[in-house]
Symmetry: C2
Subunit: 170 residues, 2 copies
DNA sequence: TATTGTTATACTCTATAACTATA
DNA sequence: TATAGTTATAGAGTATAACAATA
């Protein structure tokens, strides 16, 4: 029930060539208040950015969510599933299959904790670290570089700080 | 495979009180490069904004996507499903059930076009117009008002224009 | 032959309840 | 009893193929 991929103007091609003079009939639709709705524009921008992320990191077959998990494991080795998942806003049940995927690709490991045998210590494997390093490079040189090109470094910083405020304080 | 609802620091509560001195063990996780990843912050901000939108418009039971359809129908009466859906980035097959929902609530009508009996002319009903008017009021006075309060009008405009650039040109 | 609306279908993401093994 | 990981399941959202009616 939301927005999806492509869509800028749409249709208006199958308009009768007997079109009604100059009233603008058959033209692109009026977006109206939609282009002023922050939520709408935010959603479209987010879809574009994720789309580009996927394209840039395609050689490594990593989704944005998987990349975020690898980043977090690298910075916080030995944490358990509940901690990693909740930090990323992923529900524990949904994190299981996600970890299964990463572990089966030998990017990270689960090992039962000695202190508390209920929980798993999560750590990146050497391969996981290597893949993460390559992913970071692709993100920096292709993905974020394109954004910097579009916005410029100052605007990009401004955008980031405003979005961070919304994510934290709104 | 993405971010979801709440999550700011997470866990770190079930830490042994035999905690490891002052090394920061048991503390909140390090977000690392994540807080600099535009896509990540963008996604979180978008989720927050949609969440607030739903809350503000809850009395009218409208999702952001439904609201965007009503807005578009109001500005572009008589257009067909393909045109409305594609403008919003909704795939035609998925737009069917969505319209069914709006039509069954008597917010809009489908009527076979006289020119091309394959297509449906979509228009808001009087009730649809009334609901849209009330929704616009709630969005303006509660939702967007909160955003203005957080960012201030100038920053909000800046943010909107940067997001629009990304949505259009990225 | 092409297009509109539609159905069927599948895959991903998100969400909740409940189980097991540990604590 | 409470918590960690897990399973099962259900619901949105998104995607593609194909069909009937119409052009």
């Amino acid at each position: 029930m939301t927005v999806s991929r492509s869509a800028t103007a749409g249709g208006a091609k199958a308009r009768k060539e007997a079109g009604e003079t100059a009233t603008g009939e058959g033209a692109a639709l009026q977006m109206g208040e939609l282009s002023e709705l922050l939520g709408y524009v935010l959603k479209r921008a987010q879809l574009r950015v994720f789309e580009d992320f996927l394209r840039c990191v395609a050689p490594l077959q990593l989704t944005p969510a998987q990349f975020s998990v690898l980043l977090l494991l690298d910075r916080n080795p030995g944490r358990n599933q509940t901690e990693i998942a909740s930090t990323l806003g992923i529900l524990r049940p949904n994190f299981v299959a996600m970890l299964d995927g990463l572990e089966s690709r030998d990017l990270c490991t689960r090992t039962r904790s000695a202190n508390d045998r209920r929980s798993h210590n999560l750590v990146l494997t050497d391969k996981g670290k290597a893949v993460l390093a390559r992913a970071k490079r692709l993100v920096a040189t292709k993905h974020e570089a394109r954004l910097n090109e579009l916005l410029g470094p100052e605007s990009r910083a401004t955008l980031l700080s405003m979005l961070t405020r919304i994510a934290r304080e709104f």
